[in-house]
Amino acid sequence: MSEILSVRHLSVTYTDSTPTIPAVNNVSLSIHDREIVGIAGESGCGKSTLINAILQLLPDSIVDMEGDVLLNGQNLRTLDRESMRRLRWMKISLVPQSAMNALNPIMTIEEQMRRIMEAHWEAARPGEIVARIDETLEMVNIQRQYKKLYPFELSGGMRQRVAIALALALRPDVVVMDEPTTGLDVIVQRGILMEIKRLQKQLGFAVCLVSHDMSLLIELAQTVYVMYAGRIIESGPSRDIYRQGRHPYTRGLIACFPPLQGSQRTVEGIPGSPPDLGQLPPGCAFHPRCPQAIPRCTDQSPSLVNVRPQHAVACHLHTPDIPSDLVEASHDRA
């Protein structure tokens, strides 16, 4: 498996407000060929900014960016506008958060797909485009005749399928999915997730799946990154995160959702709400909500440290110089 998308030490700061808002802070992640990578976190943790930064959608006038985004080894940050435009959707595409608003309300499904394809397949014959539209819609289980409809004539689930079809129309290498099932009922969610999994196997693209729903990520993704207040606070194979998540926040997230399959468990929440990115608390940003905070947490920011190969966590409880009995005790409580 080769690395297809690599984000290296990416930081994004919004400069259009005072104080400036550091929305993404030194984030590194990598996605391999045909891999599903999950990014977990609550609203306001910087997930959306991260997505937009990866896709180079943030205008220079409002953000300060550091670090690199490499797609197939090519640094997207150094590309000029036109090269970036050409690369979009051919190599990397997006399934946006709310398919309800992501489709142009006054264009038919077919026209929206056609316009995107025409922007990239400049030499294509109309027949090829039509054939591809039909083929892609069929892949997401939308009957051919529905392409003449407008978004408002479709159900929420169908709109979401259309959004997926749009993202797959040009068969990109990586598809970024931002909360792809938000606002849909559980049955429809389930169907769409299964379809994403099937399509991913069939077409062989890599997925960067962003969600607040930990159980969904653990089920679908091979690797999970947990974000809090603009930083990655834990990352590792999803199995490890699920069974041996170390960070109190990670465990809180897992406890929030019952697994899609399997036995019922009591659902716990994390008290409090995520901090304002413009006014982060000192030390570990999670300490005001953390049930196991120790004095160090209030003034020292923990860095991401490997606890096992491929499993890293940023938490003072898991840094080597903490007495091991305290760590054990905290594990028992969870």
Partner: protein, 328 residues
């Protein structure tokens, strides 16, 4: 089709309301203006014409209001708007018919130019909203749309017509060149229409720019615009096909309101330029207290505005697929 039918019914009701208003106004005014008019006209016009006036305004008739209203509607159905006093004994319908074409040509064309130009400028400044152009356009547009039409007409007439002598001072065509479908005549017509049209366009332009800009800016933040960007569509496509096409819809809805003001401004502009349209006629009718002509004009202007609005609604129905199913 259901949308078209609903709109049609609405405009029929609106037209019926304006007909009824037209019937009621002279009958509800204090001091019985129509009766005064009769007194004034006694001996000056034929007894037959006097009878016609009486019937029209219900003066000296002892029929009740309902019967009068019925007769009024019947007369209207026959296109009978009475006889003009200013142009006695020419029928009001004939007098209006001669002026209508000028107003349609002038105000109609100027409105379309202003709408298209203003909408396009609104799209453009919204797209470039972080630039100096936007910061300049907004206050200038606000200021120019606050000009009274007739005042700008006076200034334009003075500077471009009187001082510089580039354009004719009044009328719609040269006396030596009666309107015809020949090249010199058409050039002459355009030459005469230039200043009044310029006035209407300059004053009404700002409103279209501002409203299109204000519709465009929220539309630029819509998720589908962000998706179109992420999808690598060309900027022009995003600007016109995605953002502007959606932002145009509320602007068309605002057309109904704006049109009334533009027509009013156009009427005053016609008066300043002595342009022989409905507005100038309205002024004459008002000055001469020519009530039949006044009433006929009010009806005609209302009808024209309603018709234009209906046309815009039909356009809206074609541009917005949701309209066909809307409950409005």
């Amino acid at each position: 089709m259901r949308y078209v039918r609903r709109r049609l019914i609405f405009y029929l009701i609106a037209f019926w309301t304006s007909i009824t208003l037209n019937f009621l106004i002279p009958r509800l005014m204090p001091g019985n203006p129509a009766e005064n008019l009769m007194m004034r006209m006694h001996g000056k016009i034929s007894p037959y014409a006097l009878k016609a006036l009486e019937a029209e305004f219900g003066v000296f008739q002892h029929a009740n209001l309902a019967v009068q209203y019925w007769r009024y509607l019947i007369a209207l159905a026959h296109g009978n708007l009475g006889v003009s006093i200013t142009y006695f004994p020419i029928r009001v319908s004939t007098v209006i018919g001669q002026s209508l074409i000028w107003t349609l040509g002038l105000i109609g064309t100027a409105t379309i130019i202003s709408f298209v130009l203003g909408t396009w400028l609104g799209i453009w400044v919204a797209w470039h909203r972080h630039t100096a152009w936007d910061r300049l356009t907004v206050p200038v547009a606000m200021f120019t749309s606050a000009f009274p039409y007739f005042w700008l007409a006076l200034i334009v007439l003075y500077v471009l017509g009187f001082v510089l002598g580039w354009f004719p001072l009044s009328g719609a065509y040269s006396n030596t060149l009666p309107p015809a479908l020949t090249l010199p005549s058409i050039a002459d017509l355009l030459y005469h229409a230039a200043l009044p049209a310029l006035t209407i366009v300059v004053v009404s332009l700002g409103g279209w720019i501002l409203s299109m800009r204000n519709n465009m800016i929220p539309s630029l933040n819509e998720d589908y615009i962000q998706l179109a960007r992420a999808a690598g569509l060309k900027e022009r496509t995003i600007m016109y096909q995605y953002a502007a096409r959606n932002a145009l819809l509320p602007n068309l809805t605002g057309f109904a309101m704006a049109l009334g003001f533009i027509v009013a401004g156009g009427i005053l502009t016609e008066i300043v330029f002595s342009y022989p349209g409905l507005g100038f006629l309205l002024y004459q009718a008002s000055s001469n207290q020519d009530y039949p002509l006044l009433q006929g004009l009010l009806l005609m202007i209302s009808f024209a505005v309603l018709l234009a609005n209906f046309a815009v609604d039909l356009l809206y129905g074609r541009l917005d697929p949701r309209a066909a199913r809307s409950e409005v």
